[in-house]
């Protein structure tokens, strides 16, 4: 499994798939392989949170994970091992077109076994509400990079909570802080994509 983990960290999607084929051929099940890859991605995530890995390392590992998960997809579904931890719906709030951070979060959540609905950027509170009704996510994630769009984040959180009191909302982005998250009524805050997954897992298991 060392080699599989290394291919995730190397970001080489082709190598990931090749190694998965080798290991499947040796009799390892899809679920086991997926879990190994998730663990590898988690290691990169921890390094990222610690400050030992940076955007390039995190991005390529998440992408390689995606390639690996897609490759295993048919087998996971066939063997009913395609269980998802939960459904995560993410958006960059109204007025904000920044998406690199949001995309990384979406990718890491997918890589970690979440079903991810990505609403994109510049998403109004109305659309978030409608999408919540349609998708029934376990957790909503909102991202803002601009200080000037934090008001839109507050508006979206309050609107969601007013209509769906059981909705779980987590927030993030450069100007966002734990204190701000608490003030606007969000359930959680995470300072980076890797920690966001851990926060989300806790929110789900606490239900």
């Amino acid at each position: 499994m060392e080699k599989l983990r290394a291919t995730i960290k190397s970001g080489d999607g082709g190598a990931v798939k090749a190694e998965l084929d080798v290991l499947s051929g040796q009799g390892h099940g899809a679920r086991e392989l997926l879990d190994e890859m998730i663990e590898s991605l988690r290691e990169v995530g921890e390094a990222f949170s610690r400050g030992d890995a940076f955007i390039p390392e995190m991005l390529i590992a998440a992408r390689a994970m995606q390639a690996g998960a897609d490759h295993l997809g048919p087998e996971l579904i066939k063997t009913s091992s395609d269980s998802k931890i939960g459904k995560f719906m993410i958006a960059t709030v109204s007025g904000d077109l920044h998406d690199v951070g949001k995309n990384l979060v979406a990718l890491i959540f997918k890589g970690n076994g979440f079903d991810v609905v990505d609403l994109g950027v510049d998403v109004s509170a109305d659309i978030i509400m409608a999408a919540y009704a349609e998708n029934q996510p376990d957790i909503v994630g909102l991202s803002a990079l601009l200080t000037t769009t934090m008001g839109a984040m507050e508006e979206a959180v309050r609107a969601l909570k007013a209509k769906y009191p059981d909705a779980k909302v987590m927030v993030g982005g450069a100007p966002v802080t734990q204190e701000f998250a608490v003030r606007i009524g969000a359930d959680a805050y995470a300072p980076d994509a890797a920690l966001a997954v851990e926060v989300a897992r806790k929110l789900i298991s606490a239900r």
Binding site: E57, I60, V100, N103, T147
Partner: protein, 383 residues
């Protein structure tokens, strides 16, 4: 001391009469929305037009600069002859392609233009030479700069700042490539990153030669930059910075020094403290914007560690205090900054990055007036 004398003392690590103030540069100016509120607040019956289309900021006017006590005056490049700002209304909003071929949109909900199309997203190294690069020696860039810089230098009242980042060779590269693709290339396609940065740097040096030949002798500062950090840490590893960015910073600085005696100002947002020793090593004189709320960027720590070797320009928090604090909070923030960074000179104050649309005119005035109040040397005992 006049403004120029005050400014020069500060950036030479000497003690001026008071801490110098800045407003009006590429990333040290003010949103048109916030500026027009300042005009109204000051009882000035005027509306100022947008100067920088990308950021929707203004070139502040002389009476406002004087009221705020700003010690710097800017030399901006002229408009290029080969390209015109011509946004088109599309279903997404106002869409414009810049001189480099990148597409930007301003939607009804956004305050400024945002990158959405990167023309070199799928390019190979072999495609770079054939790309339609802009002309770094466009004659339009020189419009008025020799006259403006010469006049400012001759009058000797204000510090003369050459606003010559030209959106920076580093940022041009990732905007052309797309930010995600660029950072993945940094891991998986390193040759491409070298190739595209070589190209953008080459054009940047041509541009610098073009503008500095016209006015380099008159300048006190040359503006340069390129964002290398986010809220928590650098965007790339220090090793990648040293491979891809540092040698090119060195090359640009060496070139600038061959054309002017001006100090080198480098802008990087975010938690860049791990790179400051390298910045000092490569010859950067001034660090901007000193994003104090980013990790590891507290003012006192930076001054203690690096204050004798690099100057700090910026420092008033724009992520929380300016948009959501009261004028008293702004004054308190300024006091903290001055207390931490003003001793011994080496500090120029302005907000961290451009003043945004939601900052009140009261807070803008509180910022500049508080520096005048607390930043006079010798610094107050009770600061």
């Amino acid at each position: 001391m006049n403004s120029k004398e005050r400014f020069l003392a500060a950036i030479n690590h000497e003690v001026p009469d008071r801490v110098p103030l800045d407003l009006g540069g590429w990333v040290t100016t003010i949103s048109s929305i916030a500026y027009n509120k300042v005009l109204k607040h000051l009882g000035i019956n005027r509306e100022c037009q947008v100067f920088d289309w990308l950021r929707q900021t203004v070139d502040p006017e002389e009476d406002v600069l004087e009221r705020l006590g700003v010690d710097t005056r800017y030399v901006h490049i002229g408009k290029p002859k080969s390209w015109k700002f011509a946004p088109k209304q599309t279903e997404r909003g106002l869409y414009v392609v810049d001189e480099w071929g990148c597409g930007f949109v301003k939607t009804p909900t956004t305050l400024y233009y945002n990158l959405i199309d990167s023309p070199l997203a799928k390019a190979g190294i072999g495609d770079l030479d054939a790309y339609a690069w802009p002309d770094p020696r466009d004659p339009g860039y020189l419009d008025g700069i020799a006259e403006r810089a010469g006049k400012l230098a001759e009058e000797g009242r204000y510090a003369v700042i050459g606003d010559f980042a030209w959106e920076t060779w580093y940022e041009r590269a990732w905007k052309l490539r797309g930010m995600e693709q660029f950072y993945m290339d940094m891991a998986l396609n390193r040759d491409f990153i070298h190739a595209i940065l070589d190209k953008t740097l080459e054009l940047h040096l041509e541009f610098l030669d073009h503008v500095l030949s016209a006015c380099g002798e008159y300048l006190d500062v040359v503006i340069q930059g390129g964002d290398l950090a986010g809220q928590k840490t650098t965007l790339m590893s220090p090793a990648d910075y040293r491979e891809f960015v540092k040698p090119r910073q060195a090359k640009a600085i060496e070139f600038i020094r061959s054309k002017t005696q001006a100090k080198i100002f480098y802008h990087t947002c975010g938690a860049a403290s791990s790179l400051i020793p390298d910045f000092i090593d490569v010859g950067i004189d001034i660090l901007n914007p000193v994003q104090v709320r980013a990790h590891g960027m507290d003012a006192k720590g930076l001054k203690d560690r690096f204050g004798d070797k690099i100057c700090f320009w910026g420092g008033v928090d724009s992520q929380q205090v300016l948009p959501t604090g009261s004028p008293a909070d702004v004054e308190s923030e300024v006091r903290d900054l001055v207390r931490a960074m003003a001793p011994g000179g080496g500090l120029v104050v302005c907000p961290v990055h451009n003043i945004q649309a939601d900052v009140s005119p009261e807070n803008v005035l509180a910022l500049y007036d508080s520096v005048a109040k607390w930043g006079t040397y010798p610094l107050p005992q009770d600061i």
